[in-house]
């Protein structure tokens, strides 16, 4: 039920993001979703890709600091209040969202949102109990 996310440490200087995408592109890796958290000094790029192991390997070989985080891909109804209904479930259970970002593509009629929670397993079982669809890793990488 968990999805593997790659995170990359980037210094705030020109061309670093371009370099990451170039390295991935040359290795034939497709980026499925991404978000960039930035501060004045550095940024953290978070990526969901179709070939996790290969992406990690090529980035490391180019000297990037690469981390791995488990995240959850949640199907969210693509209508007003859709995301709010999912977040309400989590809020009631006191589960904290560390960060979240939207998937580039839709799955049928619904949106896919990537979540990082402070308590991943609790969040997964709660969402499933509430009948909210969570994607398996393989589904997400191929989406």
């Amino acid at each position: 039920m968990k999805v593997e996310q790659i995170s990359v440490f980037l210094e705030n200087k020109a061309g670093r993001l371009a370099e990451v995408t170039r390295v991935l592109g040359e290795a034939g890796i497709n980026i499925r979703a991404l978000s960039l958290a930035d501060t004045t000094d550095f940024g953290i790029l978070r990526l969901i890709v179709d070939k996790y192991d290969l992406a990690r390997e090529v980035l490391k070989s180019k000297g990037f600091t690469v981390g791995k985080t488990e995240v959850v891909a949640v199907e969210v109804p693509d209508r007003p209040g859709g995301l709010a209904s999912v977040l309400a479930v989590l809020a009631r259970a006191g589960i904290n969202v560390e960060y979240m970002y939207a998937f580039v593509q839709h799955s049928g009629k619904n949106a896919v949102i990537i979540f990082r929670f402070d308590n991943l397993d609790e969040a997964i079982s709660l969402l499933q109990k509430e009948g909210i669809h969570i994607y398996k890793g393989e589904e997400v990488y191929r989406l």
């Binding site: 210094e11 958290a37 000297g63 990037f64 600091t65 560390e98 990082r116």
Partner: protein, 438 residues
Amino acid sequence: MIRDPYFETLPREELEALQLRRLRSVVERVYHLVPFYRRHLDQAGLKPEDLRTLADLERFPFTTKQDIRDNYPFEMFAVPMEQVVRLHASSGTTGKPTPVAYTARDLDTWGELMARVLAAGGVHRGDIVHVAYGYGLFTGGLGFHYGVERLGATVIPVSGGQTRRQIMLIQDFGPTVLCCTPSFALYLAEVGREMGVNFANTRLKVGFFGAEPWSEAMRQEIEQQLHLDALDIYGLSEIIGPGVGVECLEAKQGLHLFEDHFLAEIIDPVTLKRLPPGEMGELVITTLTKEAFPLIRYRTRDITSLNYTPCRCGRTLARISRIRGRSDDMLIIRGVNVFPSQIESVLMEIPGVAPHYQLIVDREGHLDTLEVAVEVDETVFSDEVKQLQRLAQTIESRLKDYLTVSVKVRLVEPRTIPRSEGKAQRVVDRRPKGGVSS
């Protein structure tokens, strides 16, 4: 192991009597043979006969690196060129190198002192010694080389550079001893890791690291990564090269100075007054036995302290503490004295922080700024911004506590700080030159 049980364990009174005898002889010689010292002593109103006790030395003037430069190239030599069999030189920061000379007997002394160094680390006949200090004008490579041969062990004269090839040689030739700068030792470990080498599977057992200041935390790092005992060695080309002092394997606590050849004092670098044992200051050395290039009260610029308490290894020789920095490398940041090695020891205490760092000193308006660039590797990396910011803040507050000046920490990508295959370039000072530095 003690190579020379007589000289290395002399009772203090006998050692001081020997030092005085040798000191009087060297002062007598330089007064008559080196015009610089004749002028220097005459100006101070001193004659060699004024030296009746070791304490009288305090009245004699210092010799500085500038004095050697002013007598470039060979005016400070105390023997005619026909007796000089070797020249070395230290790299000059101002363009001209500082040449130093050796007679055949000086080389003999040097080889013997380097054999003492190696023995202090338990090296003996049958050991294989990988010497990765530079060979050439720099004294590091050849200094170790002759010591190893004198001891009767096997030397591999690798010299510097070609790191991957060095690691191959360490695996294939099976050296038991490694000699290089501490920053190169860490670089070897890093490149070795990349190559998939586990140093526990090599035959290395002991290493001698010197030619730049390093810290206790760096010793632990080197010992863990290279699986050997890491010993600190001290020397400088003006005095003889490596072989002025070394740590013993038994205690690893301070470097024994070979006091039968070198007389040590510690002075306050500002007031120039002699400091008592235990106090931190600049090391001043007088060579007692050198023929070609003797120096009286040479200001080494190295910051350390002297310790006369007996050592468990049995040597009676005084010990200097790890070099804390150079009095000229001392940065004055907003009026506070800061040594790069202090910053290093703070960084090394923080788990996961890589030993690669750079200090960038600048000035904004009239205020000095100190920025420390620290590499982020996988052990500290987090995909959450707040974790990384917390890391930077932790480093900043520890440095502030220790140095009493505020420091900005900048997290940078791995391998963006220049690596050295020789001495580390730790400090970039961008402040305008010639201005007031505090």
